[in-house]
Structures are given as structure tokens and as C-alpha cells.
Amino acid sequence: MNQDADQLREAFVAHEYLAPDAAEVIAVVHERARRYRRRRRAVQGAGGAVLGAGLVAGTVAAPGWLNDTSGRHGGSTISLAAPPPLSSPVASPSPLTAAQQEQALNAYFAAGYDYNNALALAQLWHMTGDPTTVKAEAGRRLLAGQKLPIAASPAAVASAADTADINAFFAAGYTYQDAVGLAQLWKISDPYQAKIDAGAKLLAGVTLPIAPGSQPTPASSPTPTESVSATDLDAYFAAGYGYDDALRLAQLWHLKSDPASVKAEAGRRLLAGQRLPFAPTAPTPTPTGSAPVNGTDAAVAAYFAAGYTYDDAVTLGKMWNIADTYQVKTDAGQKLLAGQTLPIKP
């Protein structure tokens, strides 16, 4: 089991480098948040009329099980009269079939309700157990034309509206790369928004300027296993090179691929008798070793140089209530560099 844990941890940590660029993310977050705020105001202004209309439409075609809380699912008569009190406890709702539950859950999410709303409803209705049951019960009530005792999250309402557009986009055979292509064409920074706009156009019967699947996958997409071989890596490490060297080589060679691929490329060159552009530096950065790239690296280096380990970072993270162990190492290292002591020994 420990070996499993170590191997898994190693695999996860080794692929952290795949994390997207923070600057790109921030730009899109602000743009999307602005959109959500606009929609929130629109939803509040409309008083949920659109949603209400959709739900009433759903009720017209509703099967008998929607109004049934007593276990009789076969009926087809719809009775909207005298719904139970809105915040009344749910007296052991009868189980729905898989198809009914799917329909109820779709209604729940389409109305903009989310996971946190399900928790709140569970409390109001004194329901315990799987939140999915709560969502299904809420969805059943919505389809039956009833109102829920809490309002949906405005951001989730906006998200639910986007979902239909995005589903239309993918259902037409378009891919993420197509969204990237469309975003470039339409001068939008966010491919996600391109999916939504494209989906809305498709739903409106408009033809898109590119065919589905016409945008090629970039050659630099991360598929390390294709180019990395143990022999190449062996040669790289045997020559004394390390992780930091791979980062430096990637810069020198203008490679955007992952460090493992860079190491493999360097190893191949070494095996072919070529020399790399610089001599190996120490594999693990320490305050006295290779120069750290920035303050964060220096702090992490100080952390490890003081004898602390990954497990210590986990312990410190729990003490400091920080979930990100890398952040813990950085914070701890900064404390050490400032001459402070940590609450645990290495």
C-alpha cells in the first residue's frame, strides 16, 4: 500500500508541470465573471420569468410520477392542485427509476440549482444521505410545477444556460481545437466563450465558418510517453544533469514541451556523442548550489536544505490550514530564510 501511495504521489507531483499558465486563466476569469454578473442582473430583473416558463412547459408533458410521493409511478394523471408546503419535510420520497431520476436531475440543474443548494434543501427537508436523492426530489418538484424554498445560484443559472449551447457545439461534432480556431477567428480570448457562442449559433440554425473537426491538434500537445525512453533519460542523468538543467535547456532550445521530453532529447544528443550547451549543475537546488530561479524556489530550497520533507509539509499544511503543500513549503522556507523556526522539527 505504501508503494502504491509513493508511486501515485510521484506520478501526481511529476505532472504538476502540466498546469496551465496563470496569466491566461486570470484574464478569462475576469471576463467570465463580468458576464455572470450581467446575467445575474438580467435574471434578477426578469424575476426568473424565463425559467418559470420553461418549467411550466416541462410540466405540461410531465408523466404521472412527478406528482407521486406515495410509490405509485404508473399513473398518467397530472394533478397540480394543492402541492405540499414548500419547506415541508419530505416523507421518504419514493424511489424513481433511473430514467425518471435522470429527467429530474436535468430539471434541477437546468433551473440553475447546484450542489450547495442541494445541501441547503436537504437541511430544510430533513433529508439525510446522498445529495443526489435531494437533487432528484427537487427536480421532480420543479417538473411538477412547484417552486423550491430557495433560489438558484445566479452564476449557476448562467452556467446552466451555457450548458445547452456547449452541448449543441459538441453534438455537432466540433472539438476543443475547433473552439480555439473559432476564438481566433472571432477575436475572443476564451475558447470556452467561443464554444458558447458557436453553440448558440448552431441552435439558431446558423452555419459556422469552419467544419467540425477541421482544426488540427497542436504538435506540441503533451504526450510525454511518445518521446521519452528510459535509455535517453539514463544517459541524461548519468551525465550529471538534473531537473533544473532541463528547464534551462528548454529555454535555450525554445522548447515548450514538458521537462521529461527535454531530458530525453538531451539524452539522445548525449548518446549521439554531442555536447550540451552547458555543464551539469547540482540536481537539487540548495542555497549553496545552483542559483534558484526566483524567491519561491529559494524558499523551497531553504525548506529542503533544513532537512524538512514532503510529509513535514503535509503536517505543517494541516497546522496552518493550507491545502496546497507547495504553498506550505514556500511559506515555511520564507520563514526559515527570515531566521524564524517552524513549529515542527525536520
Binding site: 501511495a5 501515485l8 504521489r9 506520478a11 501526481f12 511529476a14 505532472h15 504538476e16 502540466l18 498546469a19 496551465p20 496563470a22 486563466v25 486570470i26 476569469v29 475576469h30 467570465r32 465573471a33 458576464r35 455572470y36 454578473r37 445575474r40 450542489y115 445541501l119 446522498d130 445560484s153 445566479p154 452564476a155 449557476a156 452556467s159 450548458t163 456547449i166 452541448n167 459538441f170 472539438t175 476543443y176 470556452y192 503533451p222 504526450t223 510525454p224 510517453t225 511518445e226 521519452v228 525512453s229 528510459a230 533519460l233 541524461y236 542523468f237 521529461a260 531530458k263 503535509v314 499544511g317 490550514n321 493550507i322 491545502a323 496546497d324 503543500t325 507547495y326 504553498q327 511559506d331
Partner: protein
Amino acid sequence: MGLDVCIGVTFEQFISTRLPGLLRQAVVLTGDRELAQDVVQEVLARAQVKWRQIAKADSPDAYVRRMVVNEYLSWRRSWAVRNVRAVGERLDAIGDARASERDHAQRVVDSDELWTRLATLPRKQRAVLVLRYYEQLDDVAIADLLDCAPATVRSNASKALKNLRLTSEQQTRVHEKELT
């Protein structure tokens, strides 16, 4: 920012210090750079809209990280379908995982193979492994986060580990067949 737990900070202060960690968490969770970006963008956009409420939480950092996990678990099915196909294609590249002598170079290769196998797991099983072995949460904390019983967490972890081993054994059998 330092060692606090982000209480009372602005959204901008929060993302300036916590975004890299969130992106690392998301990429480990999703196994896919684009999806990680989409998930974090979606979560942070929602978080920004209701930041006043989140900032009052005991730990906004933990709150947002929980949002990331939930967003990943509830991500639209269309992505899952596409991802399964992509993983199927990638499986062709997996080699023999029975390395008994694990030197550093071999560990890198093994780690890539394990990463590829992780992509074949159902989302909840993968999430449990990430929370247990990457985030170092105990089963009770994971159960709280995923809103299920600790026994369900243990069951998911057990199934996930079994699936990973089975995949490895299947690959080994395919490899041996190809050699004979």
C-alpha cells in the same frame, strides 16, 4: 499573504497567491491541461461573483479547492466521452510496467505510464486517489468533501487501485503476446 488562511482578503489577493496551487490541483485532478484550465476558470469566475460570501468562510482556500473538486466531478458528460476516446488512443503507447529495478530514469517513465493509466479511472475514483495521495487528506475529510460515507471513500480507493493494477496487468499481457 504568508501563512494566513485568506480570511478577509480580496479576490485579487487570493488569486495572486493561490492560483498556481489551484491550477496544479486541477491538472492533477483532471489529467488534462485544457480541462484544468476550464475548471479553474469556471470556479474562479463563480467565486469572484460571490466572493464576499466565500471570504467569510473559515478557509476560503479550502472552500475554493472544494469547488474545484466538485466542478471536476460534475463536469459535463460531453467532455468525459471525448476524454475516454483520447485515453483509448493513448493506451497504445503504454509499455511493460513491471520494472523491478526502479532507477530514476525508469521512475520517470513509470510515472508517465501510471499517469496514463489514471486517465482511465472513473472521475470519482480518480478524485479519491488525488485527495488521498496528493492532497494527503484522510478518508473522513475526503468523505466530508465528497459528501459520502468514509466507507464509500475506502471502496472507491480500493476499486481505483484495483483498476490501476488490472490495467497494468492487461498491458503486460498484451506486451507479452506481442513478444511471442
